[in-house]
């Protein structure tokens, strides 16, 4: 006869209530761990999505995420010419805050080097990559904007052509990807008309020169969207993303480090900069909070288990007097603790499925959390039952004779 189950059956409502309480507590613990994991993942997703071997940023800076970085656009061509470099891509990054349909919307704008980089490395869940150099944007689904909708930035409409999932900054802001030219346009808030007029002026000037008349193809170059009008300020880039031949990363990195105007980071180093700087304090805060919550949960479970055992003291004394083996009674306490843990964890899992998507910050249940959380619950309830077990083993069967 399973005494643990008989006791649970008799006090089912109270047991389920206790399990629900434990479940909610575990939900909070798992949520904190998920937020912690989400923060780390968010911090690195921007760098990982770019799939670059090396990041060139302004010399002696930890850019472009940990601090600002301004690079002369000419470095893109210089980097592309280095032996072992397969491709160099411009990259811009800026945070903007706009109102959209009456709500405040914070967006991290990432400029991609279209057409070399139309966003094909991004984890799209719907839609397509950028096919146009202007007026198209890929946004994270968390912004709540549908494919085909338009987002007006700096007076220009940008059609949403693709959705990413979980492309967020370490601060939890959604990321939007567009061409570098568009991103810079928004950054400088220059009307497109100004750019078009300036390009037209350059074409007119070209036509007045022998060079222009002799090489009409130069006009195409002047009207290329990637080309920047020389009379307007040439906006700097935040970084240059460098893709190298396989096995030549170290060689290229060494070469680029010899340049006086850039700092070079590998993908891993860029991630380390983010984790070590931008999110380090938040990580520690959430980490400590998680530890405290876990300990609190353990203490509460311990007291619950102890009280459940305490209430049964007389029953247990009678069973002991009848000669119940100690292992049988200890097993009863342990089985109840495990059942409480299993039920609590199941409820926490269900509550998480419902509640976590509603959290403003991403709650990422990694495979590590998915494995460790039930294991930790098992360990917590087992340890928590020790006080109850100690009590059971110390119960004097003579107490049963005391009426």
């Amino acid at each position: 006869m399973n005494l643990a189950m008989r006791d649970v059956r008799r006090h089912l409502a109270r047991f389920i209530g206790t399990a629900a309480g434990l479940g909610l507590l575990l939900t909070v613990v798992i949520a904190m761990q998920g937020i912690y994991a989400g923060m780390v993942d968010d911090a690195t997703i921007l760098t990982r999505a770019m799939r670059a071997n090396l990041w060139l940023v302004q010399r002696d800076t930890r850019g472009p995420f940990a601090e600002g970085s301004r690079l002369d656009p000419s470095i893109e061509a210089r980097a592309a010419a280095v032996p072992g470099v397969r491709r160099a891509r411009p990259y811009t990054y800026q945070l903007i805050q706009r109102e959209h349909r009456g709500a405040v919307m914070r967006i991290a704008l990432v400029g991609l080097g279209w057409p070399d980089d139309p966003g094909s490395s991004l984890p799209l869940v719907r839609g397509r990559y950028l096919l146009q150099p202007h007026g198209e944007v890929i946004v994270d689904a968390s912004l709540g904007l549908g494919i085909g909708e338009s987002l007006v930035l700096a007076g220009e409409p940008y059609r949403i052509v693709g959705h990413t999932k979980n492309a967020l900054t370490s601060g939890g802001d959604s990321v939007a990807f567009m061409s570098v030219a568009d991103a810079q346009l928004i950054a400088l808030d220059q009307p497109a008309e100004a750019l078009l007029l300036e390009r037209q002026r350059v074409v007119e000037r070209l036509r007045r020169t022998d060079l222009g008349r002799g090489q009409p193809a130069l006009e195409d170059l002047a009207t290329d969207p990637r080309w920047r009008a020389p009379t307007l300020a040439s906006p700097p880039l935040a970084a240059i993303l460098v893709d190298t031949d396989p096995h030549r990363v170290a060689e290229v990195q060494s070469q680029l480090r010899s340049w006086g105007d850039v700092s070079v980071y590998t993908q891993a180093e860029e991630e380390a900069l983010l984790l070590g700087g931008v999110v380090q304090r938040a990580r520690m805060q959430i980490g400590l909070f998680t530890v405290i919550l876990t300990l609190t949960a353990a203490v509460i479970v311990m007291m619950v288990m102890y009280n459940l055992t305490l209430e049964k003291t007389h029953d247990l004394a009678v069973l002991k007097l009848m000669g119940a083996p100690r292992t049988r009674l200890a097993g009863m306490v342990l089985q109840q603790a495990w059942l409480l843990g299993a039920l609590g964890y199941a409820l926490a899992h269900l509550a998480g499925q419902v509640a976590f998507p509603m959290f403003p910050r991403r709650v990422l249940i990694t495979s590590t959390i998915a494995v460790l959380a039930p294991l930790a619950t098992f360990v917590i309830v087992t340890l928590a039952s020790m006080l109850g077990l100690h009590h059971v083993l110390r119960i004097d069967p003579a107490r049963a004779l005391e009426g």
Binding site: M1, L3, R6, D7, R9, R10, H11, K312, H314, D315, V318, L319, K320, L321, M322, G323, A324, P325, R326, D396, P397, A398, A400, L401, G403
Partner: protein, 241 residues
């Protein structure tokens, strides 16, 4: 050891506290309980009855003296010479002042668990038979709190019988019952002793039912009074359990 001896206590002595505050609960108590007899243990409060029950039930051994169970020494000078828990499980049955049924088990399960502890096969069937024997089978699925005092005591007796004990110790089992139910319970003990061959020792203050007992023992100040005697009506023939 006589052929019918269930338990024998020799020169038991137990003291609570120490120095000037010491209280002698058992003072050179020697007692034999034979199978097939129902014995009463009388005496005022504080005379040592419960202490003697605990010592005979291998729950709280005396400081000195010996206890033999079916002729084998089991406790000597406070030291266990056998697995007392196993002994209780296999050979002893307890009935208390309150029924002390396990609150989260039904009437049948309270008996069944005792069968299980005692290593008896067909526990459920045996539990039902015992409840039927004690006329409470119709309440087998009821929890203790829904049973009347008399029903609870009958279930408690059924539980005490579950492991076919050689010795049943009952500590004021009728204290919470009215006179009619009290007598019924006492007669039940007599029936159990005579029909099933167990030795039954009942601590009681109820002098109205003394005619039921085969032997009367009276305690005073931790001693068995010499006036303890065998009642005239003698024993009934034993039946196998």
């Amino acid at each position: 050891m006589t052929e019918t001896e269930a338990v024998r206590a020799v020169s038991l002595r137990k003291t609570y506290g120490s120095g000037s505050a010491a209280i002698v609960a058992l003072d050179d108590v020697t007692l034999t309980l034979a199978r097939g007899t129902v014995a009463a243990l009388l005496g005022p409060s504080g005379s040592g009855k419960s202490t003697l029950i605990k010592a005979l039930g291998f729950v709280s051994p005396a400081d000195s003296g010996e206890v033999f169970f079916e002729g084998r020494p089991v406790v000597k000078d406070g030291t266990a010479l056998a697995d007392l828990s196993r002994l209780r499980r296999k050979h002893l049955g307890f009935v208390f002042q309150k029924a002390n049924l396990t609150s989260f088990l039904t009437a049948r399960e309270n008996v069944e668990i005792a069968c299980e502890f005692g290593g008896k096969a067909m526990g459920r069937q045996r539990a039902r038979e015992l409840l039927q024997y004690l006329d409470v089978a119709h309440r087998e699925n009821s929890y203790p709190e829904t049973l009347s005092g008399g029903e609870q005591q009958r279930v408690a007796i059924a539980r005490a019988l579950a492991n076919e004990p050689s010795l049943i110790l009952a500590d004021e089992p009728t204290a919470a019952l009215d006179s009619v139910r009290s007598r019924n319970v006492m007669e039940l003990f007599r029936k159990v002793a005579h029909e099933r061959g167990a030795a039954v020792l009942v601590v009681t203050h109820d002098h109205r039912a003394l005619d039921i007992f085969d032997v009367l023992h009276e305690m005073e100040d931790g001693r068995i009074r010499p006036s303890s005697h065998v009642v005239a009506h003698g024993q009934q023939p034993r039946q196998p359990l």
